[in-house]
């Protein structure tokens, strides 16, 4: 019986599905999970297509790592504690080196996020990766985009714009002479970090939260629309990395921080008295009204798959 597909799945992806929540892992018709008592489940799914979401030159380990982190970032935005993930992998053909490398990147990302791989699907076709992630929060504590209030401070984790610079370097649209800075920026694009621990801390205090995948202005726009508020962003407050500032002029750095996607930092709103978590920056304010305002208009705003 020709069972190469099953063999692939078995060889690379079985046996990782250990975890306190896992009742049944890979290998049956479905996985079975225990959700902690009193918790609600959060679930999200994200597809990355070669040539649309990532360059054909992106190495397989990074394709896997980014795909899983991008999905996990949605859990972080809800404040969810990680439970498990599933992978749907569509591959154009079986290449002997590709799958082991992809598998290594996926393993690292599942280990870093503590998401047990409990299921998936392998099919033949043009390269695309769909990752489904599951997490949980106490029943009343998950964050949404909808709770921002006039007077709240707009805050962001980490630094912005690095991923856009890293993508520009990978696409050979930007040359950075300092090899250490270039590496750092490319790594920020290829190996983003889902802010799961920060998200879990924020679920007790933030009024709204979203992860920055489409770009700061676009994602702030989603919060403003869902919350029915206006949001003002002060471009002089944007947290920019030393590597980014050393590599491009300030206006370009600010534009990437405002409109570049793929940073996977958390954007959230805090009521007046709540202290700012470590590593986070206040970049604006929530007002009554609607829409986004900023003292600076970058050339491209946000990311839309069908509009490109």
């Amino acid at each position: 019986m020709p069972d190469s597909e099953f063999a692939l799945i078995r060889d690379y992806f079985m046996g990782w599905g250990e975890g306190p929540a896992v009742r049944l892992g890979i290998g049956d018709d479905a996985a079975a999970l225990s959700v902690p008592e009193g918790h609600v489940l959060q679930i999200s799914t994200d597809t990355a297509v070669e040539g649309v979401h990532f360059l054909p030159t992106l190495a397989p380990a990074e394709v896997a790592y980014r795909s899983l982190m991008a999905a996990a970032s949605d859990l972080a935005a809800m404040g969810a504690s990680p439970l498990a993930c599933l992978l749907s992998l569509t591959l154009p053909e079986v290449e002997s080196n590709w799958l082991p490398a992809f598998s290594r990147g996926l393993y690292e990302a599942t280990a870093h996020t503590e998401l047990s791989l409990v299921g998936g699907d392998t099919t033949r076709g043009p390269l695309s990766v769909t990752v489904t992630v599951l997490g949980s929060t106490p029943a009343t504590q998950f964050m949404t985009r909808a709770g921002a209030q006039p007077g709240d401070r707009l805050c962001v984790s980490g630094q912005l714009g690095d991923a856009a610079a890293g993508l520009a370097i990978s696409a050979k649209e930007l040359t950075v002479d300092d090899a250490r800075n270039a590496d750092l920026l490319v790594t920020r694009y290829e190996r983003p970090t889902a802010r799961l621990i920060l998200g879990q801390a924020l679920r007790e205090c933030a009024t709204a939260c979203i992860d920055i995948s489409d770009g700061l202005l676009a994602d702030a726009g989603h919060v403003a629309a869902a919350s029915g508020v206006a949001i003002h962003i002060d471009s002089t407050l944007l947290p920019l990395s030393e590597a980014l500032c050393a590599s491009v002029a300030l206006p370009q750095a600010q534009d990437w921080a405002l409109a570049g996607g793929d940073d996977y930092e958390l954007l959230f709103t805090l009521p007046g008295k709540v202290p700012l978590p470590e590593g986070c920056t206040e970049i604006g304010r929530v007002h009554a009204g609607g829409g986004i305002s900023c003292d600076r208009t970058p050339e491209c705003i946000g990311y839309d798959h069908f509009a490109r």
Copy 2:
């Protein structure tokens, strides 16, 4: 701001996510679900790629319907009660007629399965549909492939081979003069039914269960391997529909029943004294040992994406 992608999702897929378990539906970073107390969650994901899993001529409503039912069938095989589903849709381009038709088929399938659509993702790329389904069972009652015991009876729901005949008609490899029979067979391929209600009834009595997606022999092989038993199938006992028997010679009908996939019926094992559920047929027996035996060897066995 170009937000055609968000608009597509909003227009067609929002507002369906009603359901007793849904705490937060489409439109945020993740959905939130309540899992019934004392239950464990079952989750499965399935990808269908145009040209691999379905013909390019398959109408969009049927692409959607089949994809959701194929995924829901995995829940049926676990004995799970339906909770929710997510859709990841990759589309080559925005066609004005395609998405409304796809959406209609998806809506019908979610209504028939009682799976609330709570999330998803729309991306640009070669047509592929990934459906993730969630269900739940009492903590100790989900079925697996692994519990079949020597002496158990091997049983199957419904009738087998119709979907393979329907696919052959669609692919113009088979001509059936009787239009009613042809329609019936094509519909069995294009609009399969996930046996969710039967699965829930079986979870109290079956020792093992799987859905028939790869073909009877292949899927029985999975049960035999997971359970560490031998399974014998008697080809004269296979349940064949009148439409199938009227359309092809008996050996072809039996071959399709044994090796054709896509039927999405349930294959399960019952201990000696448990009565056979209505609409099901005993087709073989579980023995000590390993592997599958059958009095008939069809030309092709099972389905493997990378082996085709």
